[in-house]
């Protein structure tokens, strides 16, 4: 480049008027291109700045949101609510035990009446347990209404006085004590179940009941110590976003903007996509560059590049119209009934979306890996053959290792494409905003999720400009932005190192 500049400089002394005009024109042209480049850079910088501006406004709003949550006593009620919900969860666990027992009894050929009479004692127990929680649930519901009224009043600028709310503490203590007595009485005289499996499950639930009873004093302690005046620190607004496990919007109670469920969804879909795409993409790259015949190469290479051009919305439509249903039908086959989480109830889930995204990632991984494999110097291959290695050994020990960084960067770029894809996950991932239940093991990959890209697409059109929700979506966009930037940078760093090592 510098050589060129000097040559251009050599012409300058011979300037006549025509040359001057020429040089003026040259400068105009140069300015024109430079101006355009400047515009491009400025615009791209602006995008980043605008995203950051809109996104960072979120933290102020969210801090306000968290402060009013505490000041209006919603937090206080939620402490009680946790206890009430723990009780409800135990009730559900009891009904699951009943389902288990009933299924076993049905397998033994008992009729419905026999089953009901055999389970009468258990049903009595379950109902009494469930009823024991009613008072607390009622109190929580009453206090919830009060707290909401306080929050609304606080929004209009009046001071929120939570003293009235806290005056209900004695009632709580009374209810809590009564519940403890009731549950202890129930636990002292539990029913027996006939099948050992159900009995084991029941014993587990009973153990959980005892632990939950033991936690009552601690809950009461927390209620007593709860202080509406305790300041909400500025960083809690950030941590509640980055580490928050709930994304609840348009709530009558409290909006939560936690990115974790969405991130989990995006990551899980990407894991499925890459698990499928990496072996296939890399294997076909190796096949095409090292093993395939010439005509095969000439046909398959453009075909795979062709796949990259399928618009994502068409793939999403295919997922809704064909693939989702096919996966569910497959899971309902009797020969697959040994799989613990089959048959599937949701046809739109992580796997459906991941499988389609795999097809989008394969061309990226294939094309770039194939490039990397092809760029391995001939001499490497020839040296390997000369040492007596066969083709497989040459591929496995020489060609793939020396292009490994290229392949890794191809995989990273594939990941970047998958994690940023919107339409397929919006249409096919099931849109459930919750962290998947990992206790189901691999079954978690067949649950519906919502993703970062999907939530932006689904909720952006509805939000009021400038609201916390609007800014929260920009924050999600920023997370995506930096995540993909990071992935791309890593891919470049890795492939740059690879270029140097081969020279």
């Amino acid at each position: 480049m510098s050589v060129l500049t000097e040559t251009a400089g050599l012409q300058a002394p011979r300037a006549k008027s025509a040359h001057r005009k020429g040089r003026a024109l040259e400068n105009v042209i140069r300015l024109f291109f430079g101006g355009n480049a400047f515009v491009a850079v400025v615009v791209l910088v602006l995008i980043t700045l605008f995203l950051i501006r809109e996104g960072f406004g979120f933290f102020g709003g969210n801090l306000q949101n968290l402060r009013s949550y505490r000041a209006a006593g919603l937090e206080y009620v939620d402490i009680m609510r946790t206890q009430a919900e723990a009780h409800a969860a135990l009730s559900r666990a009891l009904s699951e035990v009943r389902v288990r027992e009933a299924r076993k009894l049905a397998e033994q050929g008992r009729s419905l009446e026999e089953m009901n009479s055999a389970l009468a004692g258990f049903d009595q127990f379950a109902t009494s347990f469930s009823d024991a929680g009613n008072n607390l649930a009622g109190l929580v519901s009453d206090l919830g209404d009060q707290a909401i009224a306080l929050k609304e009043r606080a929004a209009t600028g009046e001071p929120a006085d939570v003293a009235a709310l806290r005056s209900n503490y004695p009632a709580y203590e009374q209810i809590s004590a009564a519940t403890t007595v009731e549950i202890n009485a129930l636990l002292a005289n539990p029913p027996q179940l006939s099948t050992p499996e159900a009995q084991r499950a029941f014993d587990k639930v009973k153990a959980r009941m005892r632990t939950s009873l033991a936690e009552f004093p601690a809950e009461a302690q927390r209620l007593r110590e709860w202080d509406p005046g305790r300041p909400v620190r500025w960083y809690e607004s950030i941590t509640s976003f980055l580490l928050g496990k709930e994304w609840i919007t348009a709530s009558f109670w409290q909006d939560w903007y936690g990115v974790i469920p969405l991130l989990a969804g995006s990551v899980m879909v990407s894991v499925v996509a890459l698990t499928l795409a990496v072996p296939f993409g890399v294997a076909s790259a190796v096949y095409i560059s090292e093993i395939a015949t010439r005509p095969e190469q000439n046909l398959i290479k453009p075909y795979i590049e062709f796949i990259a051009a399928i618009p994502s919305v068409v793939l999403g439509f295919f997922g809704i119209a064909v693939l989702g249903q096919a996966i569910r039908a497959l899971s309902e086959l009797p020969i697959l009934s040994w799989v613990p989480f089959f048959p599937l109830s949701e046809r739109l889930n992580v796997f459906t979306a991941g499988a389609l995204l795999a097809l989008m990632a394969v061309p990226t991984i294939f094309t770039l890996s194939e490039d990397a494999l092809r760029n391995v110097p001939r001499a490497f291959k020839e040296a390997s053959y000369a040492l007596g290695a066969n083709r497989l050994q040459t591929i496995a020990r020489v060609i793939v290792p020396s292009s490994l960084s290229g392949i890794v960067s191809a995989i990273l770029l594939g990941l970047g494409r998958v994690i940023g894809e919107t339409m397929v996950v919006l249409l096919c991932a099931g849109n459930r905003i919750a962290i998947p239940d990992f206790t189901e093991g691999l079954g978690a990959f067949f649950q519906p999720v919502h993703t970062m890209t999907g939530i932006i697409a689904q909720e952006m059109g509805e939000v009021v400009q400038g609201s916390i929700h609007y800014r929260a979506l920009f924050m999600v966009g920023l997370v995506l932005f930096f995540l993909t930037l990071l992935i791309n940078l890593a891919a470049q760093k890795i492939s740059a190192r690879y270029r140097m090592s081969i020279g």
Partner: protein
């Protein structure tokens, strides 16, 4: 890799049984690779065939002119389905209205499905307009930026930084550009959902890719061509115009055609910036010229999103769903095919 175990080359040469085992292993592995490759092709082919077969029954007809012109030339309409004198009738909105003037039918027995009659003409037009505008924008700014970066700028750390930044922006998800376009153009600038907002959003989305690809093709032109021209007394601009651009053109063209495929295929960025679900007027039916830029349009990818998520899936809706998906796939594939063909042809012609 040096310390990898297994048979060393010398032992392969000396033991026939291990050589046979090695041969068997090689065959198995090569075949599994072949299988993997063909499985990928099979999956893609299945999708092409599924959409192609069901879609071509919508797009093509058995009698002349062999193409379903109605589907390509009309706007979407509501479809009415009902029984009449033992016959199942399916009529589009206008037909149904006409039919009703001469027949009696109990309205309660008529089921209606939105979007399922008529065609997709406004969506095709909208997509074409979006592509033309955004590509013009992206090519103009993108190619001139690339020329500046590769031909005029000194290769200092600042330029390298700019280059890395642009390269990285090419990987930013399209929905993030959609978010940005919505926030800046639609709301902040007050352009509303409009062609202009769509152009800028899509144009900026492909800009980094166009700059990177164009610069790459410019830099691939051998330095000797430039130096020779400059040595003969040509100015910098003459050199670029006569000796650099012609040779870089194939690369720029390929990348821009791929850009077209990407712009046409994206849904996420136009969802909030340019697309309407239903729009009766065609884009040129505006009362003032300036209104042209501030109107939203229907677009093919968005229409596919709408008909695959907002109407049921049954025999009556398959027509518009598969038809639209097939036409769209066909369009994007043709563009991609064009780019691949162009690249092979131009590459064969320009070798140095």
């Amino acid at each position: 890799m040096e310390k990898g175990g297994g048979a060393s080359p010398s032992s392969i040469l000396h033991s026939p049984s291990s050589r046979r085992r090695g041969w068997l292993l090689e065959k198995t592995i090569f075949w599994s690779f072949r299988l993997a490759t063909y499985l990928v092709l099979a999956c893609a082919t299945y999708i092409f065939l599924d959409i192609g077969i069901k879609g071509s029954s919508v797009l093509f007809t058995k009698s002349p002119p062999f193409v379903n012109l109605e589907f390509l030339s009309q706007a979407p309409e509501t479809l009415y389905v009902f029984d009449y004198e033992g016959k199942k009738m399916t009529l589009g909105d206008r037909e149904f209205r006409e039919w009703k003037t001469s027949h009696e039918i109990n309205d309660a027995e008529v089921t209606s499905v939105a979007y399922s009659a008529g065609g997709i003409w406004p969506c095709i037009v909208g997509t074409a307009l979006l592509v033309i505008g955004s590509m013009a924008l992206a090519l103009f700014i993108g190619v001139s930026s690339a020329i500046y970066l590769s031909e005029y700028s000194r290769n200092g750390p600042a330029v390298r930084l700019v280059r890395t930044a642009i390269l990285n922006l090419a990987g930013v998800p399209s929905i993030v550009f959609g978010l940005f376009g919505f926030g800046l153009f639609v709301i902040f600038f007050g352009w509303n959902v409009s062609l202009l907002a769509g152009w800028f959003t899509l144009g900026l989305m492909v800009l980094p890719a166009i700059i990177t690809a164009s610069e790459e093709s410019l830099r691939a032109v051998p330095q000797g061509l430039r130096e020779g021209s400059l040595a003969l007394g040509a100015t910098r601009w003459q050199t670029i115009r006569k000796n650099v651009l012609p040779y870089a053109m194939p690369g720029i063209l390929t990348s821009s055609i791929l850009g077209i495929a990407r712009v046409a295929g994206e849904t996420a960025p136009i969802m909030f910036t340019a697309a309407y679900a239903t729009r009766d007027t065609m884009p040129w039916q505006v009362s003032r010229f300036s209104d042209f830029f501030f109107q939203g349009v229907m677009a093919l990818p968005y229409h596919i999103y709408v008909v695959s998520s907002k109407i049921p899936q049954n025999d009556y809706t398959a027509r518009v769903q598969y038809g639209a998906a097939f036409v769209f796939l066909l369009l994007v594939m043709l563009i991609a095919l064009g780019s691949i063909l162009l690249r092979t042809r131009l590459r064969a012609r320009l070798q140095w």
